[in-house]
Symmetry: D2
Subunit: 222 residues, 4 copies
């Protein structure tokens, strides 16, 4: 059974006392891995992915391959009465994930230090699943998502590799999900010394998302 | 003084009773103008823009050039304890805006049927301002935003025109804002009859955003 | 055996007498199919594809799926002492291809009204092969190219479909070719009434190209 | 008067004896500046720019800001009976330019080691002008091009900076040129260790081009 780091270990720092921080962090707000810096879900792609997750205030969210935790801490802000599970198999990475969650997150995030899909067995069924990268076993993870995702729930995968992108697309379709693929190809303005602006491209990312048919389990509103 | 359509006129329909709808609507969820269909802020650009607005649960939001209301109804979901003002000068468009807000929005949205910047005088100072298009008087609008935006607040403009994009960028800088420009260049997968997928590009949109320096007015947390 | 329309049938019109036309036609210079207008290899993609073909003045070129002939007439200008074979299976399209070749081409273009790969048996071995679209039998065509392409020769395929793009990439690799994939994602400026410019995207196209190892058959220079 | 390095100094090396090299060099074929490596006109943008130059076999070409010479050596292959002037002000760069021209070029290239627009006075009127970068005096250079470009001739500028791109566009229009702007936004496939392919973006480049109205000076064909 995976170690789950319970929220009581994650005390929000001063930044989170008083007025809640706004949604919309920049990439530099996160502590990132070295020398693998740059593997964070980029702000623009994070925005599209978060938006595609179909979050509600009380959503149960799985963030698989949580990495720096950039998706978890933002999802936790929108799903502020729900629960976010940040699943990360790379134990060298857990300290960084913990620090980002402590500094930028909320107490509705739990870190699961184990490998998906096995790590997911002990978690409650999700309303929204984010898959930050294939990690080699995307088919198995999507297979489990096919069993566990609630009706009306959504899964979003970020993929850089062409082959993985349409494999994920076709697997989501075979699961009966309403499936979409978007390539996000952003470029950021960089100001030169004379004040003019040129564009620096981010690498294209394929955001593949699926919605499980059906109505979400009823409740009494927010 | 502009007509403000108060929330009591905007009764949520059945869709909003029971479980709240999730964040993340598709473009087809909105009633759109004909024959100007296509002028809606596209889903991918809406995601980046919403994320850049720095929304909190209690934010005061101005959505200037609200159009179909696609940004207002989503901002209102994140800022569910705040207030969203959907400002639209095109009176032919107000009916459509009202219908989208009624069907997809929340009761924290107020429609302001008047032209910016004059329309903005009677509104409370904003935490977040979205400008959906230049409409010819972007400099005046940004000038007013420079006076009214709260410390720590953010303004986000969506621009298609090259010249307007860096004009907005430079004006935000002159206002002392921490300014960024991002070109969002997405393409959507389109499935062919044989099940394979090709990409259809959306037009590039420049998302120019600025943050007013300073700490947001303190409060007692969320 | 396919009908080959010999150059003697293709008399250059007045435009081609006197000073030769320059390289670099716009899409509107070509007569295009209706209602399938838009299926022409777009100018920007045509440029990248032509450049990737490794043309010399005396190249033998196969243009497979020649369509409007936009690649053939430009390749023929660069390979002005070589031969260009415009292969097109769609007989309804041949008239249009003929007219474009007559008006914009040179007398070193021959139209082959038949389906590849069978149509290619009677043609001389190529230095450069352009494949304008998969047409369903890309693997067979690439297989034949693997047998017939001269050492040092190049093959370039334009593909819109994700799955076909990396299939072509991997097949070229298996043929022992030095293989590259480029996604071309251009946007064209469109001038508005007030003289400002916004961008209209073309759809992304994957340009997959391979070079057969080895030195081209020696000759005594150009 | 600028030093013009005459072709007799530029003896083609062994590579150019025997069969002429094909059009379509890769970026790695050129010796590049260190540590400024990366400032070469990228292959995909070079392709679009060359194609937009409207080259004929006998064209007079100015390559302003020739840099590594990547455009000059390819233009010289298409305009093999014309003359190409590679104009470069940065004297530290001339050695590199000379070596690339010697190794990859033809004897119809002349290097002009001086700054534009002054450097252009002694050159014959051009059919095609390429401007590889603004270098601060783009308006002056375009002004001179307005006086010297032959009827039917074309000018192509590569620009990274937003402000410069539409300035160039509008200046070409004011010169009475038929003007176009294209943003080229390519991404290259990069093969991972497992053989799959992901995309790495190049930075967007604006290719702004203008055609001077009128027929080119008549001649008796090629």
């Amino acid at each position: 059974m995976p170690e789950i780091i319970r929220p009581e270990k994650l005390r929000a720092t001063g930044k989170l006392t008083g007025k809640a921080r706004p949604l919309g962090l920049s990439d530099d707000d996160f502590e990132q891995r070295r020398p693998l810096r740059g593997q964070i879900t980029k702000r623009e792609v994070r925005a599209v992915s978060l938006y595609s997750l179909g979050l509600r205030q009380d959503s149960i969210v799985w963030d698989i391959g949580a990495g720096t935790g950039s998706v978890s801490v933002e999802a936790a802000l929108i799903a502020h009465r729900g629960r976010v599970f940040a699943v990360e198999k790379d134990l060298d990475n857990i300290g960084l994930l913990e620090r980002n969650v402590e500094r930028l997150g909320k107490d509705n995030i739990e870190i699961v230090a184990a490998e998906a899909p096995a790590a997911l067995d002990s978690l409650p069924d999700p309303d929204s699943v984010f898959i930050g990268g294939s990690g080699g076993n995307l088919p198995d993870i999507l297979g489990l998502v096919g069993q566990r995702l609630k009706p009306g729930g959504r899964v979003v995968a970020n993929l850089a590799v062409l082959e993985r992108s349409h494999e994920a697309y076709h697997q989501m379709q075979q699961l009966g999900f309403q499936t979409e693929l978007v390539m996000v190809n952003a470029a950021r303005g960089k100001e030169l010394r004379d004040g003019t602006v040129r564009l620096e491209s981010l690498n294209p990312v394929f955001v593949v998302s699926g919605v499980r048919p059906g109505d979400p389990p009823g409740d009494s509103g927010e």
